[in-house]
Subunit: 412 residues, 3 copies
């Protein structure tokens, strides 16, 4: 929270018309209070020779986020509890925060720790930070579609210094939005860029009635690693969103993906799935958080993540949203008996049909099944599975029927 | 539609007290309009020698049904698009209609086509037909039972020149009605003889409130072929009607039957299953439409179909209706605790029980289970399956309990 | 019914503060009428030498319960229909009643029958019994817990002369109550000691509104035999009570138990499961009624049953009630988003957690899952199964959350 966050959001604004919203420090948001902003100007540790052996200016991961201001000289023994490193990953600087408990600390590689820190020595420590009332900044964009029914897309922006978790998330989301902006959408999409946890909670609290109407959604995170694709299921195992994701994997030829069951640990689906909202949200990832070695260390950097990986995952999300956008529930305007197809010019004539002439699918069959199923309870994806015909084909025919005013979108 | 239909209905009236109802040409019935009547007096094609080479008087399948009037001389090339034959079944005259698109044509065997029609020759064509305002005629009979709750039995009468599809349907239905008229029925049965599609749609439209209360039903068609028995399931796979049909097959020793899943193609279940009605209807067939070689040709005749086959299928339908008629939902009049059986004289004494003395079923058990299950939600067929005791046994005991006023029919 | 029953109840009052309630003879209770009391003073059969060859004073099983008064001399042939014995169990005196049909009879061993009764001889018969208006006596105790929601525990007291069926039932129940009285209960428990069938029916009738609110319950019978443990399922196969019983067996290491499906025969679950109440009740037994050789004979005595067996079954029932008592449905007071755990001092610190430090279960995980699931629809046993964590652990953590006012008991 603070100026860094706003910088991130402004950079994204260079690409998409993101609206920045401010929720003031001290606001009560459910069980939480929006904290003060944290301004950090400088931070270092010097050895007795006056050499900076840990320097925030060189790598901002060196400082425990939200560290309180400090100035003074410490013995090795006094300093030790404030130093964080990972013996198992000796060259990596771990990433740490102390958000809700006022504290301070430095993170460094185990190699540096062994090299620079020794019992009996003294160290000068300086942290020039400040806590001030301000606001929590979030970015929001609402892509309005034909229908007011909304899906949620959420990504977090709290530590973009790390590449896969979390820079890759807002990057992919930004490009996803650019793509969606060029499309004529059937549903509306509410997309938010927020600090994890407190940002999601604040957003829910300030937009409770909106959130209670959300159909379902996705949380975009850790999408750019070299590892396997995976997806975390929504809290309802049988929710259609999970089936659509698996359909995406299948169509894109991704056979070897990991299925993560819903878990109460994770990202902001924790908030959206809570009893008061119960929004089913799915996450497609590539090297998911918790699972890769460099997770929450300085090695989660641009050597680990690259544009090609992000682009591959973007393609999956784009396919996912495209399918969600076609998953309409219709209601027949002619519920009694069959429609007289010829009257509506619906007999597929040579060259005049909706589907291409050489389509493997029988257009007339699809029309008849759609008119049978469209009773306000079956979504198109479910119909597509019942008929073993791709959603895209079903959708194309449904659009024709809607245009002919034979079916209308149902309020669900 | 027309006088032919009325003749069919009048012939059925010789056997059962069918009521004939008329729905006028031009009536709007949902998405359809009832067409004009078609009167056909004569139709033929003569060759240049003046010989009738195709003659409606010899076989009425020769003329495309609903052909417009024609008189004139045509070259082979002009006539050709109006001639219909089947190369794959060279001796058969195909059956064709052009109901909603004004057109004309002749059907003939491929053998005749090769023999009589040659490029370069001229043909005299005569069709003496007429379209006039009139009415669509349907036959209806309501067999009133103890309860007003109705089942629907529907059969079609639009091209009785063909034997299995469709003469066998109304023949079986007529005999079924004769049997049912001799029985004391528990439920009511609404039985209709209609032209396929337009007749069903017109009936639904003119009787919408009745149709919305129908419990479920059957569509009787193609019941007299030499092939296998089969049944087409209702649109809800788990509907009790499907289980009852399978129970009929099992009891009658029919092991080798075909199960057709519900399909949007077929007969008038297409209308009854539509979103506005959602009536589950089942069809038991013997050589079902679409499936046999002679389907919709002049070879679907009385050499193909015979009384013995129809009689076999009739036996199945009779068993089906008999079971449906016993499938009552009861509600206990003594829902709290057990009934005092001795007070109601319900202890099966030697010789005084409901079931025969040597019955393999324990009458007392059935009484107790019935009083346990009869809560207005379990039908007797479901109870019979839960207890693995035939419906007929359960029914017999339930009747006794009803007579003793311990249970009453529940409004479902 | 009568003084004997009241003696039984008064003996139980020596151990627990049982309330005795009286329902007068002649009261209409649903389909039944509470009968008159039966007083029996003496009964015997003498042979022609004046020797008492059957003597009620020696064993009260000798007399058919509810026998009408008799005095007179009978030939062997006249007496024979009134004598009951079991050829297959020659030394056992069978137990018989003639409750609703006015009759009389004696029960004796087949050995005695062969020894003392011969054609051609005469016998003097004396039954000094009396029927008088009085009342049906039942014992009731309501153990009030934190919540008014009640479970039912029912046991019967109609023929305590027989040991497994039925003395063992009220004995176990009495000790169970003593145990429960020493506990702080979460739910309330309504425990009744009644004559089987008529007592249950009378209780239901006099307490209908109470019974309609019962959550579920157990019927305690035949718990002291040398044979196998078993349990009879509630009428809904998937009811949580069945799962809890199996959980009890598993935890207590009882692998070889018999599962009896729900049956309309049995004990007073017949009344409680009837359509008007539909109370799911379970029975854990050791040598269940119907199943053991000595069932309903004088050999079902204290040689067959012993305290150790009863104690083993008591342990199972105690475990069952203890689990039921923990099976609370909670509702989060913070349904929107996550709770801020640190604010409520819920981060398990070293030594300060709810679970022991070396617990194999992760306390934080349980807290988060509970806050996720506690929406007024999931009971703790179901949550424990979803998480594969023992109910007792889940309960302990839930109590902490309740104490912290994060969750409250839901009205179900």
């Amino acid at each position: 929270m603070g100026e860094g966050n706003r910088q991130t959001l402004r950079m994204i604004q260079n690409h998409i018309p993101l609206e920045i919203k401010e929720y003031p420090s001290g606001s009560q948001v459910y069980d939480w209070t929006i904290p003060q902003e944290w301004t950090i100007r400088d931070a270092w540790i010097k050895n007795s020779n006056g050499e900076k052996i840990v320097d925030f200016q060189k790598c901002n991961v060196h400082l425990v986020s939200y560290s309180a201001p400090v100035q003074g000289t410490f013995t090795f023994e006094e300093l030790s509890p404030h130093l964080h490193f990972r013996e198992d990953l000796a060259e990596a600087i771990p990433y740490r925060t102390s958000y809700y408990k006022r504290n301070w600390g430095f993170c460094l590689s185990y190699n540096d720790f062994k090299k620079y820190f020794h019992s009996g020595e003294k160290y000068e420590v300086f942290i020039d930070s400040e806590f001030t009332n301000g606001s929590l900044s979030i970015g929001e964009i609402l892509l309005k579609g034909e229908s007011d029914e909304e899906y949620l897309i959420s990504t977090y922006i709290c530590h973009p210094s790390l590449a896969n978790d979390n820079l890759s998330g807002p990057v992919l989301t930004t490009f996803l939005i650019k793509e969606l902006m060029s499309m004529k959408l059937k549903f509306s999409y509410r997309i938010i860029f927020i600090p994890e946890t407190i940002g999601a909670i604040a957003y829910c609290s300030f937009n409770e009635s909106i959130m209670k109407k959300i159909k379902s959604g996705m949380v975009i995170t850790t999408v750019g690693g070299p590892g396997k694709f995976g997806y975390k299921k929504t809290f309802q195992d049988e929710h259609v969103l999970n089936a659509i994701v698996e359909n995406v994997f299948q169509e894109k030829g991704v056979e070897d993906f990991i299925t993560y069951p819903f878990d109460i640990h994770g990202s902001d689906e924790r908030q959206y799935s809570s009893p008061g909202f119960r929004i089913n949200t799915v996450t497609i990832s590539k090297d998911r958080y918790y699972e890769y070695d460099y997770y929450h260390t300085s090695l989660d950097n641009l050597d680990f993540v690259n544009a090609e990986y992000i682009s591959q995952t973007l393609e999956l999300y784009l396919s996912l949203v495209t399918k969600i956008d076609k998953n309409i529930v219709y209601k027949s305007n002619y519920p009694h008996c069959e429609v007289m197809l010829s009257k509506h010019d619906l007999y597929p004539e040579i060259g005049g049909g909706i589907l291409p002439q050489n389509s493997q699918w029988n257009e007339l069959d699809i029309i008849l099944w759609l008119l049978f199923y469209c009773d306000g309870t079956h979504d198109l994806f479910t119909i597509s599975r019942l008929l073993s015909i791709p959603l895209e084909i079903i959708f194309q025919v449904a659009l024709k029927l809607e245009e002919k005013k034979l079916i209308d979108r149902a309020k669900v």
